[in-house]
């Protein structure tokens, strides 16, 4: 399979009063055609910033992509002009934002909002054709076409998110970036939306980056998983690597923090402490201050990424040592 999107050594910084905030540090991963990769991490881990960098949407003037490459179909998106990027956004690559309540324009009907994307990317189409296509998109996401002229406030949260999905898919994108698409929704509606996304993805053979903090959603939807912590990918691998051969102490800690619905565990095992201040990252491993299994050198030496088995990457000195001692 070809590497469809290839991100190499991406670094993003924000300037603030407190100094330089390193939001994304040396992030590299790739996606093959038709695959879904899950980007998992807690608030402030750099998931959304990574996604925004792909679209070249990192908010300026404080935010800046310092270095790295985002190769999309062999071309570096970071070198493209703003004019070219506007063609790509919403066309070949589109994005679903977390909050359906605020990502729609409240004074434009939902139908016109879908038609707008189609208009921007297909100049030749007549008004009537655009309207027809927008209606088809509404039907596709399970909203009757008769609601074309309704405004966002007339829809429930789940339906608004469907409209956002319709907008994102209107131009048959090759890559869909979904930033916490179901976090604001109730569980039964979440199930509906996830099912819909999986179905459409299969029909259109779209690749997807799914950003979430919910390891349960990832287990159901993704092929590969990248666990992010303090702007870094600390563990990357297939679903099986991450869920069965969990290596990084942070990933292990995440799994232990989730209450298990299958058995009655009396106490959870939380990760002590807090995520480090991104303006003042520790010298050694970023996770070391919270790690209960650290080595003395973890406080001073920043770990390199190591491939522990084919396709399974971990950033941890202890894991590195264990692998070395086993030959």
């Amino acid at each position: 399979m070809e590497k469809f999107l290839d991100i190499r050594d991406l670094n993003v910084e924000f300037k603030s009063d407190r100094g330089t905030v390193k939001a994304v540090n040396h992030v590299s991963f790739h996606i093959n055609k038709g695959e879904t990769i899950g980007l998992v991490g807690e608030t402030g881990a750099g998931k959304t910033t990574t996604a925004l960098s792909i679209m070249k949407l990192v908010p300026g003037p404080h935010g800046k992509i310092k270095s790295g490459e985002v190769l999309f179909e062999g071309e570096d998106l970071l070198k493209k002009s703003e004019k070219d990027m506007r063609k790509i956004r919403g066309g070949k690559i589109s994005m679903i934002f977390q909050d359906p309540m605020t990502s729609l324009n409240p004074v434009v009907t939902v139908g016109d909002q879908i038609a707008e994307v189609i208009k921007l990317h297909n100049e030749k189409k007549s008004r009537q054709e655009m309207k027809e296509k927008a209606k088809q998109m509404l039907e596709l996401v399970g909203i009757p076409a008769s609601r074309y002229g309704d405004y966002p406030h007339q829809f429930s949260g789940g339906m608004k998110q469907r409209v956002v999905i319709a907008i994102a898919l209107a131009c048959n994108p090759e890559l869909l970036i979904a930033d916490e698409p179901t976090t604001a929704l109730d569980v039964t509606i979440q199930a509906q939306v996830l099912e819909l996304m999986a179905k459409l993805k299969k029909e259109l053979n779209t690749s997807m980056i799914l950003i979430t903090h919910d390891l349960g959603v990832v287990a159901g939807e993704c092929d590969h998983v990248a666990i992010m912590y303090a702007g870094e990918i600390v563990e990357y691998g297939s679903l099986k690597d991450i869920y069965k051969e969990t290596k990084h102490p942070y990933t292990i800690g995440l799994f232990r923090s989730i209450p298990n619905v299958d058995k009655k565990d009396t106490r959870l095992i939380p990760i002590p402490g807090l995520m480090p201040d991104p303006a003042n990252l520790p010298k050694g491993c970023y996770f070391a201050p919270r790690c209960q299994n650290k080595l003395p050198e973890c406080d001073t030496c920043h770990p390199e990424t190591l491939e522990v088995s084919p396709g399974h990457f971990v950033k941890c000195l202890r894991v590195q040592k264990e692998v070395e001692s086993h030959g």
Binding site: D186, P259, V261, P270
Partner: protein, 324 residues
Amino acid sequence: MAEILRVEHLKKYFKTPAGLLHAVDDVSFSIEKGKTLGVVGESGCGKSTLGRTILHLLDSTDGKIYFEGQDITNVTKSQLKELRRNMQIIFQDPFSSLNPRMCVSEIIQEPLEIYKAYSDKKEMLRRVAELMNTVGLAPSLAGSYPHELDGGRRQRIGVARALAMNPKFIVCDEPVSALDVSIQAQILNLMQDLQEELGLTYVFITHNLSVVKHISDDILVMYLGKVVEYSSGEALFEHQYHPYTKALLAAIAIPDIDRQNERILLKGEISSPVNPRPGCRFAPRCEYCTAICRKKAPVMEEIVPGHFVACHHVRKINGMSEEK
């Protein structure tokens, strides 16, 4: 064990321009001292309104509330103030439930001042320090303002404030929903420890089913203001009788690749609680719905000992013999 709170046929309707909004409609339950009742349901099902009505933050429309055997449905303002010593609340959003212009110690101190609990200022500050220690806030944070702290720490302030007057009963309204999982686990553990140490009774309101399973002794499942299923937590996760509960539990995304749920997709969405149609509230989305479901509201029935379900077809759906 002694019963601490009993709610009978509690109703809370709101007047809206479109008609009466049935937020809580005929809810009954009781909690024993030291136990946790989990209330689950999706947004708009009335779970927060239920919690607030119990605490008299909202006036009930109908029904009775008993606290430690005493009818507290209609109390005067001064009686209410006394009641609030024993009944407290922890709010969902640690970002908007704390006064941004008060520092940590002032926030925790406020209830002590309101109740004039200490005549000696030094003693009061000692109590504040003790509370901060109880919830795991470093003494150095006493002068910090809420905006300087992260969500987990802010929620700890909310817990300390609720504990200030040594209450017996706390309504926890989605206390961990705004937090990251690793922090969520810290707060859940804290709340469990406090319950054991201080013998607290909780009503724990949440939409997160794994959390509710983890913390609750009994669980109340709500749908559009009505209770659809009520039983012990273990029994509920063992077997669900109501079609809504079945779908709700099947929708949990489990972080295990070998154990993926067969999703039960519900048709449509939650309908409006304004002037609800007669019959079962869940009928428009229910695959087992028949004529009777649209006409007559089902009553709560003890289907197996200790397990209450409100559904006309519960026996048929679960392959049990019809009995009356």
